[in-house]
Amino acid sequence: MPNQPAVLDAEAEAGANASARSILSGPVASSSLPDWFREQQRAAWSQFEGMRMPVRKDQPWRFSSVDRLDLAPFRQPSVLTEAQRTEVLERSRALDKIAARLVFADDQLIDSAALPDKLRERGVILQPLGRALVEHPALFRKHFMSQPATLGSAKFAALHQAFVTSGAFLFVPRGVEIEEPIEIFHWLCGDHAAVFPHLLLVTDELSKVTVIEHFGSLSATAPGFACGVNDLNAGPGAQVTYVCAQNWGKHVRALQMNTTLVDHEASALSLNVHLGANYSRFESLSRLTAEGARSDLLAVAIATGDQEFDARTLQDHTSPHTTSDLLYKNALDDRSRCIFGGLIRVEPHAHFTDAYQKVRNLLLSDEAEADSMPGLEILADNVKCTHGATTGQIDKDEMFYLRSRGISPAVARRLVVTGFLNEVIRRLERPAISEYLHRLIEQKFVQK
Amino acid sequence: MNELSVENLHVSIAGKEIVRGFTLHVPRGEVHAIMGPNGSGKSTLAKVLAGHPDYEVTQGKVFMDGEDVLALEPDERARRGLFLAFQYPSEIPGVTIANFLRAAVQARMPEGEELEATDYYARLYEKMELLGMDRSFTSRSVNEGFSGGEKKRNEILQMAMLDPKYAVLDETDSGLDIDALKTVSHGVDSLRGPNLGILLITHYQRLLNYIVPDHVHVMVAGRVVRSGRKELALELEERGYDWAREEEAVMAR
C-alpha cells in the first residue's frame, strides 16, 4: 500500500491552536473556516450551553450512567509528537485490500491513501471535512447534520457541531460502485484529549460503497472523550455498507450519533462492533424515506470490567413498502452493563411496512446487567412487525458437550460467545471485514 | 336454467388482462374440468367467480341459475350456493374449524332460526368420517399449521357441510401425495349428484383418474381453446400444453 505524504489541512492547525483548553470553555474560532460554518458553530455552542445535562430520569437516558459524562476534565488536544505520529501510522493497518484510507489522530489528518485515479475520474470525492466544506459547500450544507438528534443526545450533537473540524467527506456519484472498502481511522492520542469525528457520506443513485471506521486509543489507559456524528445518505437504489469497530481505550467516554437516510429502493446496512471505552453511548437513527428502502441495523458488543454500552435506536418508517431489520447481540461479563433502547416507529400512511427488532443478551457473570427496552409505535395499517428481547446465559449442556471433547472451560466459553456474536457478523457478507472483526473480538478475550 | 354460465368474461388485475373472453356452461349434475398451463388464468377465473376484490371484470357476465352474480358480494354469492375450494386456503388463527363451520352453516339459515348443535355435530362427524378425518381435527384453528393434505381435506369438508349448488375446485390436487389425492377425490366424488355442478381446475391429468369429468376444457392465455370429453385430458397429458398454445396462437390471429 503506498504511503502517501500526509495531506495537511486547515483543521490540523486549528486543533493545534487550541491546546490544553477544557472543552467546556468553548471552541476556539479557526480563521481558516468559512464564515457561514463558523456562524453555525457559534450557534451550536450557545445551543449546547443553553441545554441542561441529561439525567437518568429522562426517558431517553433511562438506566444510563449519565454521571460518567462529566466533560470538565477533557481538553482540546495539543499538537502530536513525532513518536505519536509514528505509532499511529504503524498501527493504522486493518484490511489488506482497500479503496482508500484516511487516518486522523486527535482530530488531525496525518495520513491518507488516496482513491485510485479511476474512481476519482468518475467523480468520487473523498476529502477531509474542512476541505469539503470549502470546495463542495452546496453538497456539504445540504447533508451535514441535516437531521435533528432525537434520541436523547441533542446537547451532545450541538457540542459536536460546535467543535467539529475533522473527519471525512465521501461522495459517490451516480452508478459508481466501489468494490473495496474505504477505511477511516480515528485515534485518541493525548491525555484527556477530546475528539469530534465526523463522517458525511452521500451516495447518488445506484451507487455502491462500503466504509469501515476504526476508533482506537494509542494508550490503553489514557482517559479521553469522543463525540462523533455520522450522516449517512443512501440515494435511490444505492447500496451502503457501514462498519464501525469501536475499540477506544478503557478510560474513554464516548458518544456516537449516527443518522442513516435510505431513499427509494436503496439499502443500508450498518454493523457496529463495540469493544472499548468505559462508557459508550451509541445512537442510531435509520429513516426509510421512500418505497422499497431497506435498512439492516446490526451490532455486537462484548462488555467486560465496569464497561457500559448504551445503545439507542430508532427505525423510522416514513414511507409505505419499507423494510428494516435490527439484530443486536451483547455478551456481558464482570460488572458490565448493556442497555438497549430501541423503537420501531411506523408513521401514519407508512403501510406495508416490515420491521423487525431482536436483542439478545448473554450474561457471563452474576454482576453483569442487561437492560432492554424494545419499543414499538405503530400508526399505520398492514404492517408486519415483531420484536423480541431475550436475556440468558450459556447453556450448561452446550458447555458440557464442549468440555467432554477436551476443551478447557475458558476456551469453551470463548467459542460459545464468538459463535453467539457470529450470527450478527455473518450478515455482513464481507469475509475480509468479518475476519478482521473476529480478530478484534479474539483480542478482547486475550486482554481479559 | 340450472347452470353456472360464464359469458365472454374479461378480467384484469392492475391493468393487465388475464382472462380474455372466457365462456363456459356448467349445468348442475355435471363435472367440468378446466386444464391449462401455469399462467393461463385458471386460478384468476376461480377467484373472480367467487368475487375476489382484487380483480376487475372489464367485460362479460356470470350467471348462476339465471341470476347475475357479478353484482353480488362474495358472501352473498356463497350463500346462494357457490363454493370455492381455494388453492391456498387462508389461516385463521385461533378460530376452530368447529366454530368456523358453525358460523358458516348458521349464515345460511333464515334469520331468527338457530342451528341445532347436536344435529350439526352429527353431520360434521359424518362428513369427517367420509374424508377420513379424526374428530380432534375440529378443535384445531382453521388451516393453522396444517399440512398441504390437511388443508385440502379441510376445503372438501367445508364443501360437504355447506351443500353448494356449484363448486369450483382450484388445483385441489396440488401438493398432495397419492394417498391424500385418493382420499380427497373420493370425498369429492361422493358429493357428485344431480344437484351439484362441479368445475375442476387442474394442471395435471392425474386428478381426473379419480374424479372422472363429463367435459374437459383446455384454457390457454385466458380463454378456452378446445373442449371435449374426458379423453381430451389424456390427449393433453400425452401431447403437452405446447400443442394447446399453438391452437391459442391460431385463435388469437
Binding site: 426517558q59 401514519p348 400512511h349 450474561l363 457473570s365 452474576d366 454482576e367 453483569a368 446487567e369 437492560d371 432492554s372 427496552m373 424494545p374 419499543g375 414499538l376 409505535e377 405503530i378 400508526l379 395499517d381 398492514n382 404492517v383 408486519k384 412487525c385 415483531t386 420484536h387 423480541g388 428481547a389 431475550t390 436475556t391 440468558g392 446465559q393 450459556i394 | 368475487g51 375476489h52 376484490p53 358480494e73 362474495p74 358472501d75 356463497a78 350463500r79 363454493f83 370455492l84 381455494f86 387462508s90 389461516e91 385463521i92 388463527p93 385461533g94 378460530v95 368456523f100 363451520l101 358453525r102 358460523a103 358458516a104 348458521q106 349464515a107 338457530e114 384453528s141 367445508q158 355447506l162
Partner: protein, 469 residues
Amino acid sequence: MEKETSAVDINRNIGDFAYPEVHVRDAGTGLTEKTIHYISDVKEDPDWVREFRLRGLKTFLEKPMPTHWASKDLEAIHFDKIRYYLSTGTATKRSWDDVPDDVKRTFERLGIPEQERKFLAGVEAQFDSEAVYSNIKKAVGEQGVIFVGSTEGLKNHPEIFRKWFGKIIPTGDNKFSALNSAVFSGGSFIYVPPGVKVKHPLQAYFRINAENFGQFERTLIIVDEGAELTYMEGCTAPKFNTATLHSAVVELVAMKGAKIQYITVQNWSANVFNLVTKRGLAHEDAEIKWIDCNIGSRLTMKYPSVIMKGRKARGEVLSIALANDGQHQDTGAKMIHAADETTSNIISKSISIGTGRSSYRGLVQVPKHLKNCKNNTECDALLINSSSRTDTYPAITVRGTGNAVQHEASVSQVSAEQIFYMQQRGLSEAQAMSLSVNGFVNDLVRQFPMEYSVELKRLIELEMEGSVG
C-alpha cells in the same frame, strides 16, 4: 352465536343509565385539607387514618403529573371540579331488602343479586363512595373468611389491616396512589385464614352514578398460608358528558403457598379516566395471577404488578385490552423478582379499532445474585384500521447468570385474504372480522374462568359491530 347464559353480565351499554342522586353526604367540589377532614369525620376515621390521608394529600399535591411519559390527555382532568366523596349516609346492608330502592334497582339491572345467588361466595356492591351492600355466604364466613368494606376492615380488624395497609403500594408510589391515599373510600378488605380454599369467587361491583365524581376505592386482600381465593371486580358508569375519575389502589398479599386470582372486567363508560395502581406481594411458593380485561374508559393507565419476595413465588398477568374510537388503553405489567427460582409470565393482547390506541408498558426486573428466575412476556397487537395505533414499551433488567428472560411482541392485522376466505364461506364482512378478532384473543381467553370467557367474547363481538369499513 353462543347460547350459554353468562354469569357476569357485561356489555357496553348495560351500565348506561342513572337514577337521580340521593346523596346525604357530599364533600363538595375540589380537594383541600377540608375535604380530607370532612371524609374523616363522616367515616369516623381513627387518628392514624386521618394523618395517613393528610400525608397522602401533601404527596399528591407535590407530585407532578406523569405526562413526561404518559398521555397528555391526563391534563383534561380538572381536580378542582371533581367531587371526592358522595354517599347516602346509611350503613352497608347485609340484605338486598334493606338497600334503598333506587340503588337496589341499579344493581338488579346490572344482574348482581342474581349472580350472587348463582355462583358467588360473597358480594360487595359499591355505589359512588360507599358500599351499599356486602354479604358473604354463611358457610364461607364460618371458615373464618373476612369480607368487608375497607372502612369496616380498618376499624374491626386493625391487627391484620394495619400490618399490610399501604405497605405494598406506598402512598408516594405515584401521583394517583397518593390521591387515593388521601380520599380513599370503599373497596374490599378480605382475609382468608391459613389453609382455607374459597371455592367460589368473591365479587365486588363498583358503580359510579354521579356526575363530576371521583371514585377512590381501596382494596386490601390477605390470603394466609396455603389458602386460595378468586376475586372478581366489575365496574360501570353512565355516559356523562363530563370527565369522571376512578383511581383505585389494590394491594394483595399471598402468604407462603397461597394463591390469589384477581379478575377485572373494566367496562367504564367512555368519559371515565381510569388510573389504577395494583400490586401483589407473593411469599414463598405463592402465586398471584392478575386477569385484566379493559374494554371501557376514556383513558386507562394500569400496570398490575407482582413482587415475588419468596422462593419459588409465581406471578402472572393475562391481559386483554380493546381500544375503540377515542379510547386509549395504556396497560401492561410489572414483575419484580426478589428471590431465587421465581417465575413470571405476562401475556398481553390488544386490539385497536378506529381511532383507538392501545399501549403496552412492561417492567421486568431480575436483580443480581438471584438464581433460576424466569420471565416470559408475549404481547400481541391487532390493528383493525388505518387510523388506530399501538405502542409497546417494555423495560427489562436482568442480572446474573442463572436467569432467563424473554420478551416477544408482534403487531398484525386481519388480512384481506383472510376476510375473503371467510366471505366465500358465506359470512358477512363484519362477521368475518369479528370471528378473526375472537380468534386473536381465543388462546388467552381460554385461560380465563368459564363465566368470563364466554361473556368477554360476546362483549368483544358487540364492540366490533360497525367497526368494519
